[in-house]
Assembly symmetry: C2
Homo-oligomer: 215 residues x 2
């Protein structure tokens, strides 16, 4: 197909498609004539993936590039790809540990101890550790006492969810497809769960409020 | 306390604090002398809340204003505040229904039918419905077949979570504190759960990978 059809079917503009081509996120098409190239279903799939990562996942170009490079890097194991995906989705790092505020440093130690106590096997520099520590610091700065045990019921729910999500990616699935499923599963189902949790809050609040509204 | 101490204790700059004062997000202090005002623990709590909503929740000034107005509006019931919080956290609306792409319109119908089938009592215009429809459209545009039933296990997990989260706000708690707890619970624990789910993915992936790494 021509670039105009490719763009239309993926739901992006031709200008945006050309931008991804220039950035190397989308491989070039097969040359069919001077200044013309033909694109296939593989290009369409890639373009839809980029769009989903941008619009659903909120990833910037740099993060999208990291994900695509991981998809193309056959030397990475499936497990290593989880790490790449995490780093692409959230590039926060520990930063310069000399300049970390005291409460942030304390929250990181609390989170690390909590993860250890849970028995979870995760990288000591996983960005999500810092994200969790940031959430704990936010609680403290609002005057909440206590430590990472605030998160215990959420950790149990997250582990239960991950225990059926991770095996849902078939071990024998083609590598590119498996990685895409992993990214999509992380990004899109995360957005879906957040939306569902907010709807469930409203539902449970309505259930609580109902008795006082009844005659 | 003076504005300099207020800002320091909340972890924001004096310039940012003055900006919130000008914007009316933070009430003025008690005048103690010409060009000087005194602030109390209430100001500190409010400033920490604004900071958490901005930095943890990613809310813009307009959304923060809506949340604070809801906190101050004694005429709203607790249940109505859930709605205000949802709208502040996500202001996406159905938009001009004439111009909605066909797949988005179909996804919204699917999501509405799904919510009805779940028996959830939520507003027909709740922003999270649109967020969930957007997630479904993203799946379709990546070539996934099927409808909102993709979300069924996530809906069950969300409802289970909300069923202990919502009653955790004591019914007799002072109104301002209850609302703050609701917002913080939605925003900060959402961030915490997202982080924990990513850590749990890594842990579950490591468990799957472990047998092949062992000798």
């Amino acid at each position: 197909m021509r670039i105009s059809e490719l763009a239309r079917r993926a739901g992006v503009s031709v200008a945006t498609t050309k931008y991804y081509l220039r950035e190397g996120l989308l491989p070039g098409g097969a040359a069919t004539a001077r200044n013309q190239a033909s694109y296939d279903e593989g290009h369409l799939h890639r373009l839809r993936l980029i769009r989903a990562l941008r619009e659903v996942g909120g990833l910037d170009i740099r993060a999208i590039r990291a994900v695509i490079q991981a998809i193309e890097d056959e030397g990475l194991s499936r497990h290593e790809l989880f790490g790449v995906a995490q780093w692409a989705l959230d590039d926060r790092t520990g930063g310069d540990s000399e300049n970390v505020p005291a409460d942030v440093a304390r929250a990181r130690r609390e989170v690390d101890a909590f993860i250890t106590e849970l028995g979870w096997d995760v990288d000591s520099e996983a960005p999500a550790r810092h994200a969790l520590a940031d959430a704990l610091v936010a609680l403290w700065r609002l005057g909440r006492a206590g430590g990472a045990e605030h998160f215990r019921p959420y950790a149990a729910a997250a582990d239960a969810m991950a225990s059926w999500e991770v095996p849902a990616i078939p071990a024998d699935e083609p590598r590119g497809l498996a990685v895409e499923r992993l990214i999509v599963g992380t990004v899109i189902y995360e957005a879906a769960f957040v939306a569902l949790r907010r709807l469930a809050h409203e539902h449970q609040s309505a259930r609580q409020a109902a008795p006082t509204r009844a005659p």
